[in-house]
């Protein structure tokens, strides 16, 4: 007879807790920011997370999927998820009525290594929906400004209509405590006030000390490739380049197997990996 080490009392590991979608903020076509709040007040108070972590969200009857958290733990109470309508669960999520009940469990994954980042410069490089997990780190850093040296954000989208958190980020351009560089590939209507060109061009505008900087990169794989080249040219150590990876996840806790890459579970060992991890894991990117 097996005597389990840990107690089996209490709710299942996989119990989704009731939460309400209290507000949806349209972002760009097919993208919305969902503001979610637990129903139980003690959950609202106790739920905390690291930037870069994710949670499992259930739409009743449709199923469960992983979502990276876009809000910062420095602003508790409401959890924000920036979602693209792209699969079964997200489609159902977009069709939910106001104040709909959903299920949430988490947070899961390693998140960004905050202890290691402390006292360093932060360089955040995002493309497209890659801004979703990096926004959490961005606001965490800005709300804990003294813990970090320079904070630089580089964010690129295809055109001004496809920039997530557009007004929020445009407002950062004038702030002194962050260098916010925004760029679009094209500006067909001539309305964009920030820069034009691919995200890698933004490297021309900053001085970076690779010895004292961590880079966090998130975006489409093409962007990844070029940004990595830039970072390596600038003598970044492979351990100082952090990336967030996406995989099929059905449990979030290293059991179901789907997010396995080589010998790492994206949900346990990730979703934040260093570039060195990436090189050593087959099929990583």
């Amino acid at each position: 007879m097996y005597e389990p080490q840990n107690t089996l009392q209490g709710p299942s590991l996989y119990q989704p807790y009731p939460a309400r979608i209290i507000r949806t903020l349209p972002q760009i076509p097919d993208h919305q920011l969902f503001q979610v709040r637990f129903e139980q007040e003690d959950m609202v108070k106790s739920f905390t997370y690291r930037p870069g972590q994710f949670l499992m969200l259930s739409v009743l009857g449709t199923g469960e999927a992983p979502f990276s958290i876009s809000s910062s733990p420095t602003r508790p109470g409401v959890i924000e998820l920036c979602v693209r309508q792209i699969g079964r669960v997200t489609k159902a999520l977009f069709n939910l009525p106001p104040n709909a009940l959903v299920g949430i469990r988490g947070p899961y994954g390693n998140g960004f290594p905050l202890e290691q980042l402390r006292g360093n410069n932060l360089l955040l490089v995002a493309g497209g929906l890659g801004m979703a997990p990096l926004r959490s780190l961005l606001w965490y850093a800005l709300d804990n400004r003294a813990k970090f040296k320079d904070v630089i954000l580089m964010y690129g989208g295809r055109n001004p209509d496809e920039m997530l958190f557009k007004y929020e980020l445009l407002n950062l351009i004038d702030r002194a405590d962050v260098k916010c560089l925004l760029t679009v590939d094209n500006d067909p209507e001539g309305i964009w006030k920030a820069r034009i060109g691919v995200v890698t061009k933004l490297f021309d505008h900053v001085e970076i000390d690779p010895e004292n900087t961590f880079a966090a990169v998130c975006g489409p794989s093409v962007m990844f490739k070029f940004v990595l080249e830039k970072l390596l040219q600038r003598n970044f150590s492979k351990d100082r380049i952090l990336m967030s990876l996406e995989r099929n996840m059905q449990c979030g806790v290293g059991k179901c197997g789907h997010c396995m890459i080589g010998y790492k579970y994206t949900c346990l060992d990730g979703p934040i990996f260093t570039y060195w991890d990436a090189i050593n894991l087959p099929e990583m990117i």
């Binding site: 009857g61 199923g63 079964r88 489609k91």
Partner: protein, 259 residues
């Protein structure tokens, strides 16, 4: 929420899939209670064949120009079109000999009187119209139908098994017909959903649910050849229920055999 308007239609086939709907004895009242059935010729008179539909369920194969016309009319009126049964999804048994001119069969069966039939080579619905959801099976599985309807009512397409009958067969711990008895079981290449019904009786899977996604037909052919089955037998077996399916067309099989 208004009940969705639904039409249930049968083209050429045995009507067995419509019969499965009627056979949902315990759930029948809930089922008809949750739908506004506008047309179900097999079960009710007074069909409304003009109205707009939320969901159309269509059984059977298209074998006549009139059926093609009817199908296109249904498609045009329906928000969602669900193919029910292997005939509607893959062509079924009516399409097993499409390489032969159907006029030949008509002459053989009906003699000169057969001239009144206007026929085209039997084809699945997807050859003519967009199909939103396919529920395969000969006949369909009651459970899949009910879960499918529930998902549609909820606003999703149901998640159907995309793996082979072998998976369900092993889950139920039935002895392997292919390995243990050496019989020509099509479990490895047939899509699951039936709970491995035939193997549960010690019979081979005949592939009535059609090919599984990512089918490896070359490997199955190889296995059957090694077990001593003739090429004609293997071909006939593979092409009984879903001959129009691309991985099972004659040329593909010929290539798979020689690979």
């Amino acid at each position: 929420m208004d009940k969705p308007k639904v039409g249930i239609y049968g083209l050429t086939g045995c009507a067995g899939d419509q019969l499965v709907i009627l056979n949902c004895e315990d759930e029948l009242l809930d089922l008809v209670g949750s739908l506004d059935i506008k047309s179900f010729s097999m079960a009710a008179s007074g069909a409304d064949d003009q109205c707009q539909l939320d969901i159309a369920f269509v059984e059977g194969t298209v074998v006549q120009p009139d059926e093609e016309k009817l199908l296109k009319d249904i498609r045009q009126r329906a928000k969602l079109l669900v193919a029910i049964g292997t005939c509607a999804v893959w062509g079924g048994v009516t399409a097993m000999k499409n390489e032969v001119d159907p006029k030949k069969f008509i002459e053989q069966v009906y003699g000169p009187a057969g001239k009144v039939f206007e026929v085209i080579p039997p084809q699945p619905l997807s050859s003519f119209v967009k199909v939103d959801l396919s529920l395969p099976g000969c006949p369909i599985e009651k459970e899949q139908l009910l879960r499918g309807v529930a998902s549609l009512l909820h606003g999703d397409l149901p998640k159907l098994p995309n793996y082979a009958v072998c998976t369900e067969c092993k889950m139920a711990e039935y002895p392997c017909i292919l390995v243990e008895k050496g019989l020509p079981c099509l479990g490895p290449i047939t899509v699951a959903g039936c709970g491995a019904r035939c193997p549960s009786y010690g019979l081979t899977c005949n592939g009535c649910r059609g090919p599984v996604d990512d089918i490896n037909v070359a490997s199955e052919i190889n296995i059957l050849k090694e077990k001593g089955f003739t090429w004609v037998d293997i071909q006939n077996r593979l092409r009984t229920f879903a001959a129009p399916a691309p991985p099972l067309n004659l040329q593909t099989l010929e290539e798979a055999k020689n690979a």
